[in-house]
């Protein structure tokens, strides 16, 4: 009996061991998926008081438009909804949203009071997992800030689901153009990231070019022919006041850019046909020469850490891109493809450089790693140029000009994956966009 017992015990433990091994999880690897915009539903925002109805509707439209414009989201049309939500607080009927294939749901309520105060609260839900994402959030401000609050709601939804940084609540400085092609009138302007609320910053008496907004969104550097010769100007967005940046000998300068801390600028300085890149401290106006070659060095751009610049130079015979430490050194060429490379812009993430590439008679916007590898073209047309990065480094805006006597520029954007190339619907020709930061 004892023998049987111990025998069984041995067997049992062996068996138990075998059973254990069978309980190890099944392992599977998934390497293939799909790339589609994430479907989302935005039911009518509840208006907590009747007067808020219109503003609630407006905010809701902006949220939908922002998310859709990113190319990463796709709206489920309201007429497909099964659940009809009347209030913000009512529970979410997940199966109803699942049934219309909404992967995400945004509910919101809007309230105004008599003294121009506006409150927006919203929640985000993951339908397939049947949970709320994060906490509900409430924004408040004045009714005048309704568009901004809408952009902020869109930013929160976008951030929470994708993991990218925000970018909808931002503004873009650009050049608004009018008149015939040989006598263009140009003036600086600023608008919201969706093209709304456009406001002029200068008159159109002088040609203005290639504005660059500071990292705090408060100032703009640009080139203007106000004196009859290209010079650098600094403009205050709030007041519209501008002043010329005096360069050494008051000689011609153009193509100015801010450093990330806005304390210094880099620009191209022309002297006797020599065009080199200079660095200048704005407070003291002291400048240092960064390149000295008999060739054209222009269109510089700071790295986000402020330590390097990337610029274009034709020193190799045709326009190519070079990086250079601001502290000095030898420019290092990073572009090697077949064609000419110009207007380099360093991504705010620091990992990529966007540029304009010309080859075979076509222009396109591209990106490459900061060492020049993994070059990819994101657009191509008769004339695409002047890329600028969104604050989260995910989207690039640029100028596209059509050909011919009636050719006119407009602003386009494209996702960094190359998807979602789309125009910004503006009422007038526009060029040279410069994307400002997410507003504080």
């Amino acid at each position: 009996m004892k023998r049987l017992f111990s025998f069984s015990f041995l067997v049992f433990s062996f068996l138990a061991g075998a059973a254990l091994t069978q309980d190890g999880p099944l392992k599977i690897e998934i390497t293939d998926g799909v790339i589609e915009p994430l479907s989302f539903a935005v039911p009518v925002f509840e208006a907590e008081n009747p007067a808020a109805r219109e503003i609630a509707s407006e905010i809701s439209s902006i949220v939908v438009a922002d998310l859709t414009s990113s190319g990463l989201f796709r709206e489920i049309p309201k007429n497909r909804f099964i659940a009809q939500r009347k209030t913000f607080e009512e529970p979410v009927r997940f199966p109803d949203w699942r049934a219309v294939n909404a992967q995400a749901l945004v509910t919101a309520a809007v309230k105004t009071n008599g003294s121009g105060q506006l409150t927006v609260k919203f929640r985000i839900f993951d339908i397939f997992s049947g949970v709320q994402l994060g906490k509900g959030t409430q924004l408040s401000g004045s009714t005048g800030a309704a568009r901004r609050m809408a952009h902020q709601v869109a930013d929160q939804v976008y951030k929470r689901i994708t993991g990218e940084g925000a970018y909808f609540d931002s503004r873009i400085v650009f050049v608004s153009e009018s008149g015939p092609k040989d006598k263009r009138l140009k003036r600086l302007a600023i608008m919201d990231s969706d093209g709304e609320k456009m406001k002029f910053l200068t008159g159109n008496d002088n040609i203005v070019l290639a504005p660059r907004i500071s990292s705090d969104g408060k100032k703009v550097l640009y080139t203007s022919w106000e004196t009859g010769f290209p010079q650098i100007y600094l403009l205050d967005v709030e007041t519209g006041r501008r002043k010329r940046v005096n360069t050494p000998g008051n000689d011609v300068a153009f193509s100015p850019r801010f450093s990330p801390d806005n304390k210094r600028i880099v620009f191209s300085y022309e002297r006797r046909g020599n065009i080199d890149i200079y660095l200048m401290e704005l407070s003291s106006l002291r400048s240092a020469r960064l390149t000295s070659s008999p060739f054209i060095d222009t269109a510089p751009s700071f790295s986000p850490d402020g330590r390097k610049i990337v610029f274009e130079s034709d020193r190799s015979g045709a326009q190519q891109l070079y990086t250079l430490p601001v502290s000095g050194g030898t420019p290092k060429r990073i572009s090697f493809g077949n064609g000419r490379y110009g207007t380099p812009v360093w991504s705010p993430r620091g990992d990529l450089i966007a540029f304009t590439k010309q080859s075979n008679g076509r222009f396109g916007i591209g990106v490459m790693r900061i060492d020049g590898t993994e070059e990819r073209l994101l657009s191509a047309s008769f004339l695409d140029e002047s890329p600028t990065w969104s604050p989260n480094g995910r989207v690039i805006m640029f100028s596209r000009q059509t050909r011919g006597p009636s050719g006119a520029p407009s602003i386009y954007s494209v996702d960094i994956t190359g998807r979602n190339l789309r125009p910004l619907n503006l009422r007038a020709p526009a060029s040279d966009p410069s994307w400002g930061p997410v507003l504080p």
């Binding site: 025998f7 190890g24 599977i28 994708t162």
Partner: protein
Amino acid sequence: MSIGTYISVTMHASMVGWLLLNGNFESTPREISVTEVSLVSAEMFDIALNNTPPEVEASIETAVAQPPVEEIAPKLSIKPDAPVMDREQPVMVSPQDDKTPPQISEQPEPLEDLVVILPSELISPTVSPTSPDVLEISLKPKPRQSNRITSKTVAPSEPEVDIGDFTRDAVSPQEMLSSEKKPQTATAPEASTSEIITEAEKPSKLPRVAVLAPEQSVRPKRRSIKIKLDKEQPKQTEQTIDPLAAALNEALTGSTNESESEASTESQKTVIEALAPGTIRGMQLAISPCWNLGASSSAALSTTVVVGMELSIEGKPLASSIYLVGYEGGDDASAQRAFETAQRAINDCGAKGFELPADKYSAWKKVEITFNPERMRVR
């Protein structure tokens, strides 16, 4: 066959025989909770059917891995007479109180009580010997499994269906052997891209990843995950499983013939290995269409996540059991986003249950899926 294997076989056989005689293998009456249908709205019934978990607390955003979830819903629901009776209608908790940013706590009430007991919770995690069919299973990977692109079209909702699908062909050992080879080689190229392990491993080879998950804190660790596992595994598993299966086979068919048990051992070997690649491929094909990276950040597209979960006997993922085992590349934030994308894929394509053989439930009750977006990144 070595002397060790022989001893092992004998001991297993005697053990199982003893258990059988004692009646341990009879199915126990299952405790099923009864939901008062009349008091449950249509939406909630759907939720119960789809096994939607209750809304978890707001902290879901910060709680990356969800092993603690095991303490919440599923365990709670094991008490059959618990919340079901009390909460009959969706109840709003403190709906009027908050004037400040709304909290999530108002939401969960209506749904918490609906994670009813799943029969699978009560099944003991051993191979169910209820049907002899288990042991005589067609070796060919089911064409149905390999052709399935989306799980939506197939919905075996009862375990019985799965079992019944397997034919009871008496296949000769030789045939088994040769057909064993075929599935193996045929799927080898596939396996080269997706590292697959068969269901069981030797205890010493239990992947650290799986074991660590429940013990670690909820935060995902940035560490290199051993995704690639040695191909030797299948061979080694033969030694451990086969004796058991062989013993079962022997016990059930009453055969004690050594040569026959040897043949059965071989057949068990082939059964388990042949089953895995087709089944696994089916699950990959089922999940892929729902794994949507279209709204993923660039960082998340560089993050590989390993997601663990439990499946019910119907092959449905228990949403509350889905947790982040670990990740590679990216950072905590991108891992969390990648995890959510994976979670959506699992919940979406798994809603109707994956096609998995119920008789092998213990082999796939726990699953770990590695979501590797490398091929999906912009080239």
